[in-house]
Each structure stands twice: as structure tokens, then as C-alpha cells.
Symmetry: C2
Subunit: 513 residues, 2 copies
């Protein structure tokens, strides 16, 4: 719109349009996705299960409690078993089996992070990650939602872990994924160090691809990475709030991913509580992250932006349950859930999710409708008022705005899918390596690519996936396996190749299974 | 302004105000400072002297020629002898003797870059650089103009070399200096490498404090640093242009600072022209930088932002004249000017400056009025329409908008000042180490701190500073030395200490000189 050299009447007319347009624009909410890395469903004092667990008592997350009080807790929220697939599903609205980035991307270009296997040759997955441009080898070419928000006038900010694509590819830079600001995000999936004393991994001669960029002002101070990223994020909000430009902030903490280092601000109290050092460090990473959430909430309040800002709290996969580095018995770190990061069992995929949306979501609401990480794409665009937009990809996610508006919303016909045709770690574990899964209603089926076997669980009574009902409900197994197979086929999901035959592993529900 | 739940009439009234306000806002020009590092006055095919020199014939800068055709060439534009002082003078509007960052800042905190000297102990200068916050040791606490632009609604972007302060201090981050976006800028003053094949210095285990951040998408490609920064800069302009938000872009190339590496896109032609390899590399760095300027001009034209965008081309100090790394005879690389980077002689401080301001500056204009780098501060704020603003510092620069509006503008009473109470390199050279200088009209006086001696030149007839007129014009020497001394005293300019006496070197024009 231009106003130059027009008469007053025309100007008045235009100004009316402009005013209402401005009004509409100003009403568009700010949106913050507060994405934690590797945080388990129970790594919080907020109880997400029907009862308060020992883990809920162990961890202190007062700001998550505050957020849950002001918003809606999702007790059945899902991501994928590892980080890059979740992050790409979120940005593209595609299921991981569809975008084919089914494992974490190596920061190095054209290097698959898959481990070698005796039985299988690797599946053809997109191991270089997400690309906003065509014809980049081993990437999914798709339109990320921050680009759509940016095009619609949002001020789009990424702070923290990116990990959407490998170095040497266009997706390595958040600036190519629709973000107007990037602080600290690049091709790596974890920090070399959380410590400013270590220059976050940038000490001369000591760098790796995990050295965190952009934070030189803190070098040599005692500023923990989580705190530094928070301070940086708050700085970026100043201008859009003052300019009344709606913003999208992707606040993507490196915490609580390994290396499990002590956040000294909180470490001692967990030692005093009797935790072994590594678990005290883990707990300190959680509480440091929680403080960041509180600082952001406080800032919004102080800046009078609280009432017009959506906050979506989420984790990208389950809590790490490998021992070491964790203490205790492997795969018990997310109890009552089975296993952890890397697994299609609940411990690997169920997430602590909370959404605050003043004026829309009722305080202290609890939703049991299952949702999944690719749902963020249409939800966020709907929140921002984008009704029609063009994307390179066909999206799979569904907006959960109806759930936000009605905590009782129920759809138990929808099916959710997980797909890991990869060898994430050298040793298989519960739900770990070469597994697919489907959930519909309370039923969940896991498909094991190694031998075509299945596990069937009813999550309503058996959230811990302890009672395999495959033999008791063959018709349910058949139905879910067929549905899973049809969907994976429709997405042309990558499958590993059997070394002996050179052929792809059969999809679930196919003849032979 | 808020528009919610108001009646139509009030809304109309408000909308009128808002419209005119918007109109005014949209008229505010975009401003680009295209700042080259270490580029000499003659490192271009644009003749800045009264005649075309052999150096003008050597270098190819077609886009600078184009810019000069569309704007105003300043034949008497000055910076300081080295980079950080210039960059801080530009951002703060203060003379270097006043802000006391009189030498380049080490990327390491609390480390002076001064060399040891037999005669002198170091002056107390602000060797940690610029700080936007109080009480940071060894820094100048000042308000940078990008902060004022940001506060006034500009979208402020920094791309490339920052070098305003040391690691571990708040000024190390452009995000603290009023920039809303920073790509590639940090505490270092040069790149470890211009080559994407070297990851711009970020190869694992090979990093230094000069490793360039933020450019992982180019790693392993053939994208020269100059090109990568240009591509990044253009991306940042997309949103503000579409949103009609005025922007300030600080396009601060690392080129043409050492390491003198070949920009392969242009290298061979200079070899073919018979230049020795190092000089062919140097020329290729220049032409690569010039291509960047052209790409930005092309982009603005394509985006229809050309007519509302000011471009200010500038260098931060004179061309390097040390041999090695340069070829030939030392201190002849900026002929007809004497010496080069580090010197208060013209070769160290006179810069190729061009300003394009459509609708204000006449095409192919030439201004001979002398201006200096601290003048950028008030000039840019005036261009942006900022009439009153608060700064922490008292500023010294003068707006050159009157010159832009009238190429014939003349003020030969104003005095310009340079002050280097530092030992920049281990060996003194012409105008290098422990020198101050003043220019008023055509007269220039250089004060040598080592022995209190002076050199007097008349630049009108003696641009090469070959004919010392100290003996011929004692009254001019006395007047200029006094003026210089009074000003340095008023600024409390740092002076080196004489080892023997422990006392500060006398200011020029004082008893004893």
C-alpha cells in the first residue's frame, strides 16, 4: 500500500482499510515453541500421568507447573524417537516415514548416522535432512512453516539447537528455513559443552562440529548455555514487541541433551537430595531449562505481551535411557513408560506438552486426545490466522486447535505412525532399531523389522507396554498391521534391505508377515 | 496505538493519524553502509585523485564506478589508521582520541594489541573496545547508532566483520549494539580463511578466534567468503522490503584484509596481467568485493527498493603497505599517498568513499570537502529522520548531509584529528606508531611522540606529504600543534608513558615541544 500524493478523501478511504488491516494484524498472536531436547515425559514435577510418580517428585520444574496452571496439559502428546525426525516433522507437517528423515542427521554432509548391522543393509533415508530447495541429495524438499509465517509478516526467530540438515546443505542454516534471526543454531545436534568456561566448545584448537556458534560475549564467564540462549532470545523480542509486529520464537534449548553437565545453579540441591552425580547433573539441566521458561514468561508479562502470546512447551523425543551415560538400570528412566530415546515404546515418544493460549485455552485444562509433532505445523499456522498457503509437500499433521478450544475433544479413529528403519545404536533395545508402530484409540501395535513379529498393547490399562496382546487379539493385530503397512507404502517409507536377499524388508501386514 | 473496541468515528480519527504516521515511516530511507576492510584510496578503478593513477588502471571495480556515477564521490574522506578505532568512531560518533580505542582490539579479553617498546610504556587506551553497558573494564561506554535506529523502528542488520570488542565483553556481540540480525560478526578482525573448503576456519581441531561463525551451509563448497556474506545479506533484506520496514544494513566485508587469499573467480586475470601472485590475490579480493556491491545494487533494483535506499561505500583504513605480505617496496602501495594502514599519513587514513542517495545526491557528483568516519553517526541518523535522541557519549562527528545536498559545500575551518599513542607494529614506519595528526583546510600537521618533532604538509600541492614545511611555517606549526594539543587534552586522550621518567609524553603544543 502506498499513500503518496493522494487526495485527502482517498487517503481517508485507504486509511480505513489500512486501519482494519492493521487491527487484524495486531491481533495475530505471538507464538513461542519452547522445545526441549531429549526431555522425557516424567522429567518434570508436572504429573502427566494419572498419578504423581517418583520422578515427578525428583525433578523441580516450578515454571512448567505455572505454565500448566495457565494452560492445557496434553497427556498423550507424541514426537518421534529421535531429534531430527521430530524437528523436521514439526517444521514441515510431515510424518517422519513420509519425509524420510527417520534418524538423526550427521552434521557432516552425505554421512548416514546409521550403525552397521549384520542382518540389514541401510534403508534409503534422507540422511542429510531438510532442504527448502529442490535437488539437494538425500534431503526432503519441503516448505517450513516459519517461511510461511515470515511471508505473512511475522518476525521469525530461532534460538538454540537447529539440527535440521548437514553442513554444506542449504537446510543447515535457519536463515534458509524462514527464520529472520538465528542465534546458536546450526548443523549439530548437541553442544560440545554447556560451559562458557569452555567457550561452549570454541576454545582455539579444540573445536568440533558441535561447537556452539554466536555466543562470544559469554566466553570465560560462568553463564551456562541454557542461560545464555535465554538472554539472547529475550533480546530478540524487544523490537517486535515494541513495533507490534507479531513474532514466532523457536526457543530450542540444547538442554537436556548430553553431554550431561552440571548446571551449577541447581546441581548441589540434587546431590544433597541423594542423587548420583550424573542424575544430579541431569536434574540440574532440567531445572536450568525450567528457569529459562520462567524468565521468558516473566519477560512477556513485564512487556505486557503475555496476553497475546501463545507458548507451546514440547520435547523432541523421550528421555535418554541408555546406561551409561544415565545411572540405574537401562530403560527404566521414564517409568511408568518403557524404554526411552530411540524407542518406539512410549518412553521414546511420549512428551511433556503444555499449551498456553490466553483467551482460548482455559487455565489448568487437561487434554487426553493424542497429538503428534507434525500437528504443530497446521496448528501454528491456524493460530497465526493463515488460512491458505502453498507448500511444496503434502502435509500429514492435523491442527489441534479444536482440542485447545475444547479439552474434551475426542477422536479415537485417527491413527498415529512411527517408523525407524534405522540402526540408531549398536545394540537393539526395547523398541529400539528397525521398528515401526501405529496407535489408534488405545491400541498400539509395534512391528519388528528383524523378524516381522508384532507387539500389541492397550495403553489405557497398560501404559508401560508390559502385556503383549498379540495372541489374544489377532484381528486387531491384522487390522493395525494392515493399516500401518498401507500408510507406509503410501508414503513410500524407506525400509532396510536384507543382506542375504538384497530385498527390502516387507512392510507390516504384507504377505509373509 | 490500539484499535480494539472503539467506535467508528474514533477509529477514523485514529486511523488518520496512523496513516500519516505510516506514510512518514514509509518514506524513511533504507540505509546501507558498505564497509570494506583495509581498502586503500587507490585500490579501485574509480579515480579519487585529480588524475587516473597506475593503481586505478590495475584494479577493476566496475560496480564502484557505477555507484560513483549514480552518487557522490568524496575525494577527501578519512578514517583512522586501523580498523577497530574506525568502526567504533562510526558507531559512536566519537573521535578515536575521545573514545580511546586507539588501536585494534584483540579478540581475547583484557589483552592489549600493543607491541612492546624500548622507550615507552603503553598508553591507557580502551583495548577491550566498545561497550553498550557501563562498568566493563577497558571499554568505551557509548550508545551505538544502530540501537537508535532500532529503537526508531528500523530493521537493523549486521553482516560480516564486527570487531567492536573482545570476547567475554558485551560489545563482542552485534546483538548488543543495536543489531537485530548478525551473520558472521564477532570479536575477530579478520577471517582465518576466506575459503569454504576450509570451513572459513572451522575445520574440527583447527579453529582460532578468527574462525568465521554462521556459514555452515557453504562448508565444503567453493563459495568464497565475500560471496557467502553477500548471499546472506540479501536474504536478510527480503522481509523488511516486503514489510515496508526501513532497514539499516551494515555490510561489513572481511575483504580485503589479510590473509591475502585468491578469490578464484577473478584471480587468473590479474596473473595474466602480469601481477605477482600476492598482488593478483589482492586484486581478486578487491574485485570480489566489488561484485558484492553490484549484487546488492542489482537486488535493490529488482526488488524496487533502489530509489529509497542510501548506499554509503567506505573503507575503515588505508591499504596495507607492509612488505611482506604485500609485494614491491614498502609504503608505496597507496601512491600517490604516503604509507598505508597504521599510518597517520594519507595512505593510512584517506578512503575511497561514495554515497548514493536517490533524490538527494546528484549523479556523478564529486565533493572535496573533508569528512571523517565519526561523521557517519550524525549523518545516518539525520538520513533516517531522527532529530532528537539520547546518547551516553558526547559525539564529535558532524553530519555531511549538507555536502550531499551541495557538492560545492566548503568548510576549511573545521579540524580533523588522528591519534595513535600505540605501537601498532614492531618497527616504526612513516606515520606509524606514536603519532598524532591534525588537518585544517589544506594544512596537515603530524606530531611525533618519540621526540616531539612535527611535520607540516600542504595537501593541496603535496598530497604525497613529501615536502615538510615545518621550518618554513613556524607560525602554522605552532597554531596547529596548539589546537591539536588542546583538543587531545579536552578529550583526555591517552598518551604513552616515558619509561625513563614514568611520565606521560607531552601533548603537542605544550611547553617543551
Amino acid at each position: 500500500m502506498k499513500y503518496s500524493s493522494k487526495g485527502l478523501i482517498f487517503s481517508l478511504f485507504i486509511s480505513l482499510i489500512f486501519t482494519f488491516d492493521s487491527y487484524a494484524q495486531q491481533q495475530r498472536p505471538n507464538i513461542i515453541v519452547f522445545l526441549v531436547d531429549d526431555m522425557g515425559w516424567q522429567d518434570t514435577s508436572v504429573p502427566f500421568w494419572t498419578e504423581t510418580t517418583p520422578l515427578n517428585k525428583r525433578y523441580h520444574t516450578p515454571n512448567m507447573e505455572r505454565l500448566a496452571k495457565e494452560g492445557m496439559k496434553f497427556t498423550n502428546a507424541y514426537a518421534t524417537p529421535v531429534c531430527t525426525p521430530s524437528r523436521i516433522s514439526m517444521l514441515t507437517g510431515m510424518n517422519a516415514a513420509h519425509h524420510k528423515v527417520t534418524n538423526w542427521t550427521s552434521p557432516q554432509n552425505n554421512v548416514s548416522s546409521d550403525n552397521d548391522d549384520e542382518q540389514f543393509l541401510p534403508a534409503k533415508w534422507n540422511y542429510s535432512g531438510l532442504s527448502p530447495k529442490a535437488d539437494v541429495p538425500n534431503t526432503i524438499y519441503a516448505t517450513p512453516f516459519p517461511q510461511l509465517l515470515k511471508d505473512a509478516g511475522y518476525f521469525t526467530i530461532h534460538v538454540g539447537k537447529a539440527h535440521w540438515a548437514s553442513i554444506g546443505t542449504v537446510g543447515a542454516s535457519p536463515y534458509n528455513l524462514g527464520f529472520m534471526v538465528n542465534i546458536g543454531g546450526h548443523a549439530a545436534g548437541h553442544p560440545q559443552s554447556y560451559l562458557a568456561q569452555d567457550f561452549y566448545g570454541n576454545k582455539p584448537g579444540k573445536n568440533t562440529l558441535q561447537s556452539v556458534p554466536d555466543l562470544e560475549e559469554y566466553y570465560g564467564t560462568e553463564t551456562f548455555l541454557t542461560e545464555a540462549l535465554t538472554l539472547e532470545a529475550l533480546k530478540t523480542l524487544e523490537a517486535p514487541i515494541r513495533n507490534k509486529q507479531p513474532f514466532y520464537l523457536n526457543m530450542a534449548h540444547y538442554a537436556i541433551h548430553s553431554p550431561i553437565q552440571a548446571d551449577e545453579r541447581f546441581y548441589q540441591k540434587y546431590i544433597d537430595a541423594g542423587l548420583p552425580p550424573v542424575e544430579a547433573k541431569y536434574a540440574s539441566l532440567i531445572e536450568g531449562m525450567d528457569k529459562s521458561l520462567g524468565d521468558i514468561m516473566d519477560y512477556l508479562k513485564a512487556e505486557k505481551a503475555e496476553q497475546n502470546t501463545v507458548i507451546i512447551f514440547m520435547s523432541d523425543n523421550g528421555g535418554l535411557s541408555l546406561v551409561p551415560p544415565r545411572a540405574g538400570i537401562a530403560h527404566t528412566q521414564n517409568l511408568p513408560l518403557k524404554a526411552g530415546k530411540g524407542s518406539v515404546n512410549e518412553g521414546g515418544i511420549r512428551e511433556p506438552m503444555i499449551v498456553k493460549w490466553p483467551g482460548v485455552v482455559k487455565p489448568s485444562a487437561v487434554a487426553s486426545q493424542y497429538v503428534i509433532i507434525e500437528d504443530f505445523f497446521p496448528t501454528i499456522l491456524e493460530m497465526a490466522g493463515l488460512k491458505s498457503y502453498k507448500t511444496q509437500q503434502e502435509t500429514d499433521g492435523r491442527s489441534f486447535v479444536p482440542v485447545l478450544k475444547n479439552a474434551g475433544f475426542k477422536d479415537d479413529q485417527r491413527a498415529l505412525y512411527w517408523h525407524t528403519p534405522n540402526k540408531w545404536v549398536p545394540q537393539d533395545g526395547p523398541g529400539i532399531n528397525y521398528k515401526s508402530a501405529i496407535r489408534q484409540g488405545d491400541w498400539k501395535l509395534i512391528y519388528n523389522m528383524r523378524d516381522g513379529s508384532t507387539e500389541l498393547y492397550n495403553l489405557k490399562d497398560d501404559i508401560g507396554e508390559q502385556k503383549n496382546q498379540t495372541d489374544a487379539h489377532p484381528e486387531k493385530v491384522r487390522a493395525l498391521a494392515t493399516k500401518l503397512g498401507i500408510q507406509l507404502k503410501a508414503w513410500d517409507a524407506p525400509m532396510p534391505l536384507v543382506k542375504q536377499s538384497g530385498k527390502a524388508v516387507a512392510m507390516p501386514g504384507q504377505a509373509g508377515n
